[in-house]
């Protein structure tokens, strides 16, 4: 088994380590001086989460190397409170899904046990991944099998295997190897079974009595290690973290701090941060996004794929490598460019990815003006002020925009005899209709500003020959263009509040109520740190609330939208502003 936190890969990421280390001292002070008293109801319910497809792939790649093809066995999740990850504690595994898991397990285990193909230049995986050799390859070897299952099992199940379990798996390997006349075939079958075992695929919050709170419970050390690891790395814990759990160090201040700092400094942090923002930004929709080739001939599948990557690269560079203010993501001109994105940004680009500064006269600044946001929230053949306005509110501010009334007549949007040319003129119809106005007042003043970009994210100043008016306002903050909108969003108090809520719910695996007492604590810490996301992750990971277990809601299946009432209040307040 390999450890990608060491060796070559670690050397490839000196910037992350350096950046993180630079803020470590400050964080240490915050951790050690923070008031110890936590609200009594701080904590989260014990949950059972189904591993996501990315977590599965990351875990397999971490354990067996990136050359293992993991396939795509996982069903897509549905968003709960803005995050796919929160659905993972609600979904069940159907028979069809189990068959897909089993097929993936067979494929992965056969690759791991493959002896390569010299003719095709495929190296033998088994030599590198099985830490011992059987005495005779055509016969069972219990000792070698035990070594493998003990080592692989500890990482896969994220806790040591009992002797009884090891004996059972070795027995299975023995029986299969004898039947197949193949030691590695036997081990393959056992690895397959481990890959569909609920102890691997389900991330269970196992608990123990909390010595600090008599009668209450907290995550046990291994469950805490998993929660830390899936939050920060979006993958299984490494040996070192499991060692710390085994020794009880995750419940000592110095032990937990040491491990969290190590995890924040690891190159695996990038996977964790990418996974969170890919989820929060709704980038899974890129998997099925297409644009009308007649309307936008320069937009190809590669353009859209790179649009997603451009924003994620910008996020990683800004938040991890530069350790910059989260809010400045919405104003920064620094990004990256690829050849496929060149035509949209009107710039020639070399192959691969190169740093790129958005020109001051480009009309662009911040990730709202990236092709990713602009294409994702638009129609295949045209832009949509309403979709963009709605997305900005829901994704970045955690506000909910209600759906349109069922009997609304949209025909005025396309009146063939009309002289209406721009989206602003057309949407005016909605804003003058009382049943539409409430929501359109929430979405349009920001969405219309982004009309300076067409449905493919290309900058424009006119629509149907008419000059586009890009002025607008966000909750009373006026601006004249998309750059101004980015600044207004950057300064919106709801922006960091929303991020805190999303990170904390993501960290604990389920929806967080807006009244959760920890939100205020983390919001304050986040502000004090200058809105550094690494610091926010640290605060959450080191907080007692992160490992405390509190009773769950009475009817979890109806807990799909616990925050809905408060969201409605938010919308009412917003409407009142207009």
């Amino acid at each position: 088994m390999r450890d990608s936190s060491q060796g070559e890969e670690a050397r490839r990421w000196p910037l992350i380590a350096g950046g993180v280390a630079a803020v470590a001292a400050l964080a240490t002070v915050i951790f050690l001086t923070r008031e110890p008293s936590l609200p009594p109801n701080a904590g989260s319910p014990a949950r059972v989460r189904l591993m996501t497809g990315t977590q599965f792939a990351n875990s397999i790649h971490y354990m067996f190397g990136p050359s293992i093809d993991v396939g795509s066995a996982f069903a897509p999740l549905q968003r709960v409170d803005g995050l796919l990850a929160l659905n993972a504690s609600q979904v069940s595994v159907t028979m069809g899904q189990m068959q897909d898991f089993q097929r993936a397990a067979v494929s992965i285990a056969s690759q791991v046990m493959s002896d390569g193909n010299l003719d095709r230049g495929v190296p033998s995986h088994r030599d590198a991944l099985v830490p011992c050799k059987p005495a005779v390859a055509t016969q069972p070897d219990d000792e070698c099998a035990a070594t493998f299952v003990r080592q692989a099992g500890r990482l896969l199940f994220r806790r040591p295997l009992s002797d009884q379990k090891v004996a059972e798996l070795v027995g299975n390997a023995h029986e299969a190897a004898a039947s197949l006349n193949d030691f590695y075939g036997g081990l393959q079958v056992v690895l397959e079974s481990m890959l569909i075992n609920p102890q691997f695929l389900l991330i269970e919050d196992t608990t123990e009595p909390d010595p600090e709170r008599p009668g209450q419970r907290r995550l046990d050390g291994y469950a805490l290690a998993s929660r830390l690891s899936f939050l920060l790395w979006n993958s299984v814990p490494d040996e070192q973290l499991l060692d710390a759990a085994e020794k009880g160090e995750l419940y000592t201040k110095s032990g937990r701090k040491r491990e969290v700092e190590r995890m924040l400094a690891s190159p695996r942090l990038e996977s964790g941060v990418r996974a969170f923002f890919d989820d929060m930004f709704g980038f899974d929709h890129f998997d099925s996004l297409t644009k009308d080739p007649q309307q936008y001939p320069t937009i190809t599948g590669a353009t859209l794929q790179d649009a997603r990557e451009q924003t994620l690269r910008t996020v990683v560079e800004h938040l991890l490598h530069k350790n910059a203010d989260y809010r400045d993501l919405f104003t920064t001109r620094s990004t990256f460019i690829s050849r496929a994105l060149g035509p949209v940004y009107h710039v020639g680009a070399a192959p691969g990815w190169t740093p790129y500064e958005l020109p001051a006269d480009s009309g662009r600044a911040g990730i709202l003006t990236h092709v990713s946001f602009l294409t994702l929230h638009a129609h295949p053949a045209r832009s949509s002020a309403t979709l963009r306005g709605k997305a900005l509110r829901e994704v970045f501010l955690c506000q909910k925009v209600p759906p349109p009334p069922p009997d609304v007549d949209f025909s005025a949007v396309e009146d063939p005899d009309s002289s209406l040319k721009t989206a602003r003129e057309k949407l005016e119809v909605h804003r003058s209709n009382p049943s539409c106005a409430g929501c359109h007042k929430i979405t349009d003043p920001i969405g219309l500003t982004l009309e300076g970009f067409d449905g493919a994210g290309q900058f424009r100043t006119t629509e149907n020959g008419a000059t586009i008016d890009t002025s607008g306002d966000l909750d009373g903050q006026p601006f004249k263009d998309a750059v101004g909108l980015g600044e207004a969003l950057r300064n919106s108090p709801a922006l960091p509040t929303c991020l805190v809520k999303q990170v904390y719910s993501y960290a604990t695996g389920g929806p967080v109520n807006n009244r959760d007492p920890m939100l205020k604590v983390f919001e304050r810490d986040f502000a004090e740190s200058g809105y550094r996301v690494v610091d926010l992750l640290r605060e959450i990971a080191l907080s007692e609330a992160f490992s405390r277990i509190v009773p769950g809601p009475a009817v979890p299946s109806k807990a799909l939208d616990p925050a809905a009432p408060t969201e409605e209040i938010e919308i009412e307040l917003l409407t009142a502003l207009h």
């Binding site: 159907t94 099925s288 009308d292």
Partner: protein, 447 residues
């Protein structure tokens, strides 16, 4: 209306909290002198499929004037012509939302497939009709059911196991091919049968996994217990699959294993031409999935309720067109919205025809199937769920009449679901809740 035949009640179970009886099929349900039998005299299985399209219809050019047989084909359904004799067109059925809100493009199909209107967009449908039927008829096949979408987005599915578990769709022809005819496929007509030695040892190794699932079930909270129970059941099903794989499959006369060549080229794009290309290939694969007895239940989604299908050169996707396009005063309908519906109906006709072309027993594959087609609205522009159109195809082994246009006269659309359940041997006293509850079959289409 024909009274249900007497059934031997042998199994009792729970269906969504309501006690139901599940009856074993009697031979005379499925063998009616039309040759629906295998050569060795065993009855051919009757299969169930669903088909769906988004955003309803243009009533004035969709609903035939004539009722019963030889119904006229207004321009939106003119494509039915070669297969009209196989299709029942059911119009003027209603979805009742009772106290629930009218959730756009959602309430209508949920009523038709699960019997109850959802209260919110987050309220999942619960067990959909395909799952209910699959639990009745799918034992012994490789896949309990298969959901397929032509939209290329695997999230586009109308199949739910329960309120928290969705059956994801297979979204590419290649993925469908691999699932059906890739690793693990056993050709029922292969001259030799050699069970894979790996399968036997896999089955043996599975018992420890089952034990671990049971142990975990004991340690989690009440809601998660259910999820663990489902996990455990799925493992049990996998165990049965392993048993099936080491058993020689029965020969299937109609099974012709397709070549991989037809699926190797990826078809991207959501314009109607690309959707149709995917729909065609995936239909052909589904036909052989059924003929080769890989599944007896399937769902094909041509376009989703919020249909995103585009028309090259037209700036609005289907769903947007239904709302934003004005009604042409001269024509009396929305020309572009209707263009999308016509493409949908062409694809439905292809779907039906594909099953009708495969000979099975003395008839065709379609003769031994019931396909149930739904949409989400009647008039999408105003999100109406009154006057919903529905489709069926196939004679369900002789239990159904076909080629009829039926006027529902405003009665509950759930009557078709109830009829389908009866035909497929799921003996429930009623189906649906409140105003959508019905125990009245659509007798005109029962043989």
């Amino acid at each position: 209306m024909k009274r249900p035949i007497t059934r031997r009640r042998v199994l009792r179970g729970m269906l969504d909290g309501a006690a139901v009886s599940v009856a074993l099929p009697l031979l005379d349900c499925f063998l009616n002198g039309n040759g629906t039998a295998l050569a060795d005299g065993k009855p051919l299985p009757v299969r169930f499929g669903t088909w769906s399209w988004g955003c309803g219809m243009s009533k004035s050019i969709f609903v035939p004037k004539k009722l019963g047989a030889d119904y006229d084909l207004p321009e939106e359904i003119v494509s039915f012509k070669p297969v009209r004799q196989h299709i029942n067109l059911l119009t003027n059925f209603n979805g009742f939302r009772d106290a629930a809100p009218n959730l756009c493009h959602y309430t209508g199909w949920v009523i038709q497939r699960a019997g109850s209107p959802p209260m919110t967009n987050l309220d999942r449908p619960g067990q959909t009709i395909d799952v209910t039927v699959a639990r009745r008829i799918s034992a012994g096949t490789r896949y309990q059911s298969l959901s397929v979408t032509a939209t290329s987005d695997e999230r586009d599915t109308l199949s739910y196991e329960n309120a928290t578990t969705v059956n994801t769709a297979i979204a590419s022809p290649l993925a469908l091919y691999e699932k059906l005819f890739g690793a693990g496929f056993q050709d029922p007509n292969a001259p030799d049968f050699k069970p894979d030695p790996m399968t036997m040892v896999r089955k043996s190794a599975l018992s420890g996994v089952l034990e671990d699932a049971k142990k975990m079930q004991a340690s989690v909270g009440a809601a998660d217990k259910q999820r663990l129970d489902q996990y455990f059941s799925s493992l049990r099903d996998l165990e049965r699959q392993f048993e099936l794989q080491v058993t020689r499959p029965e020969p299937r006369e109609a099974c012709v294993v397709p070549t991989k060549k037809s699926v190797e080229q990826a078809i991207t794009g959501i314009d109607a031409e690309h959707v149709a290309a995917r729909h065609k290939i995936m239909t052909d694969l589904l036909v052989m999935a059924v003929a080769c007895d890989q599944t007896r239940v399937f769902n094909m989604l041509y376009s989703k309720p919020f249909s995103g299908t585009t028309k090259n050169g037209y700036d609005k996707p289907h769903h947007t067109a239904t709302h934003e396009e004005p009604i042409d005063e001269r024509l009396g309908y929305q020309p572009n919205a209707s263009w999308f519906t016509r493409r949908a109906m062409e694809n439905w006709a292809y779907f039906v025809e594909a099953f009708s072309k495969v000979k099975e027993g003395d008839g065709t594959l379609l003769d031994n199937m019931l396909i149930y087609g739904t949409t989400d609205q009647s008039f999408a522009k105003i999100h109406s769920i009154d006057g919903l159109p529905m489709l069926t195809a196939g004679r369900a082994g002789g239990r159904m009449k076909t080629g009829l246009h039926i006027d529902g006269k405003g009665s509950a659309s759930t009557r078709m679901g109830y009829t389908a359940l009866k035909v497929m041997g799921v003996d429930v006293p009623s189906w649906g809740t409140q105003s959508n509850s019905t125990s009245q079959e659509i007798g005109e289409i029962l043989a």
